[in-house]
Homo-oligomer: 217 residues x 2
DNA sequence: CTGCCAACATACCGACCAGTATGTACGTTA
DNA sequence: TAACGTACATACTGGTCGGTATGTTGGCAG
């Protein structure tokens, strides 16, 4: 108990002195700069300028640029994907409706479309070059696919999703479509491409509904 | 006539001295190194080492790294895409068969899958950062989509493709699927992902066939 | 034989890169 | 209050980058 009190005081003090945010500011700045220009081309000096942090602070919290990148994957990108593609599917709603909702919530502002998908960008760049990135990014992709497959399986047991749909295959196809249209839209630098893609994906999702289970349109 | 003879002699001499290949070797080496590590991270010194050419020769033929990259797009990547996705569709075969053939000819060797798509790789990296790349790459994507849309339209007039298919939309979806699965496979570094994707794309292509026009399977 | 130019080759440059060595302010502990 | 460790800040390093300035070679015209 005394030890516990000491420990909590210690943490409180740390948070006070640190403002509790140097590490977090570094991760956010790194995430943004990596998103903008890729991991390899992201300059530490640029990241430090964005975060308004010095090199000493960076290398106090992370032992290398690589480790900073890994931490961005684990503490920024992974939670983002979970928040958009895992938790919303566990809402208990109709599976197809939940999936359509997630697809329709894909950002289509010009700035988002032009930048592409955080997860896919980094994965495309680093998966072939660095096993540490590949492993961490693969975990995110797997969780994404499993969340989609899981909600489809659940829909099949409740009769709202066609039985002839193979959940794992359909989940892979959904993700391929999302990333594929994301790529095309980024390449074209045009939100219209993404909007058209979302319509096509939604149409396809509707085709997965079991007959006699059609809801709204 | 005398001028013409002089000129051809001159070219022959040039080719002899040059071995006719310094520029070509540079383009091939640049293409490979850009494919491997991206344009920004591709080092000129590495490209020169691969091509066995010196910096003087490089800057005699190209005025900057940027121009070298642009030329790779125009003289290496564009012909590759034309050879795989434009010419094969103009063969006069059944449109759906031609499309299925093109999809099934997508390379699935580990080395190809791990490296991803030349066109998409470069486009993902450079389209948001450089208008020169974006313009040149967009031309290739447009030609690809137009070739697919064109063969679908042709199929509709001949009755082999469903009339309710919107050729431009379907072409976009095909490309999104191809690039999407290519991305997933590259991310996973696993040819099985690409093979599964090809099966799904082929199944989808078959669904575009007009009823009563089913050929083999 | 001579001057000339295309087609390189070599040596070098300042800028920037990731990373490090060292200094320091400040809250805590004894 | 003195020693100490945390959480940085500053200044610097060797290496690599794209790009350039200058040298060299060899065929060919005059």
């Amino acid at each position: 108990m005394l030890a516990a009190r000491k420990s909590s005081e210690r943490i409180a003090t740390k948070l006070l002195r640190d403002s509790g945010r140097t590490r977090e500011r570094l991760l956010q700045a790194a995430s943004r700069e990596i998103y903008r220009s890729g991991f390899q081309s992201a300059s530490l000096d640029t990241i430090l300028a964005i975060a308004k942090v010095t090199k000493g602070a960076l290398y106090y919290h992370f032992k290398s640029k690589e480790e900073l990148g890994y931490t961005v994957v684990e503490e920024v990108i992974a939670p983002n994907v979970r928040g958009k593609w895992v938790r919303p599917l566990q809402s208990g709603k109709d599976p197809i409706d939940a999936l359509i909702g997630a697809v329709q919530r894909i950002p289509v502002r010009p700035v988002d479309v032009r930048g592409g998908c955080q997860l896919n960008n980094l994965s495309q760049e680093m998966s072939p070059l660095d096993a540490g990135f590949r492993k961490r990014l693969a975990i995110i992709f797997d969780a994404w696919r499993e969340a989609v497959a899981s909600v489809l399986r659940e829909g099949q047991t409740h009769g709202s999703v066609r039985r002839d749909v193979e959940p794992a295959e359909a989940a892979g196809l959904l993700i391929a479509m999302v990333e594929g249209y994301g790529s095309l839209a980024k390449n074209a630098q045009d939100p219209k491409v993404m909007k058209a893609g979302i319509r096509n994906i939604v149409d396809w999702l509707r085709s997965l509904r079991a007959p006699g289970n059609r809801r709204r349109g």
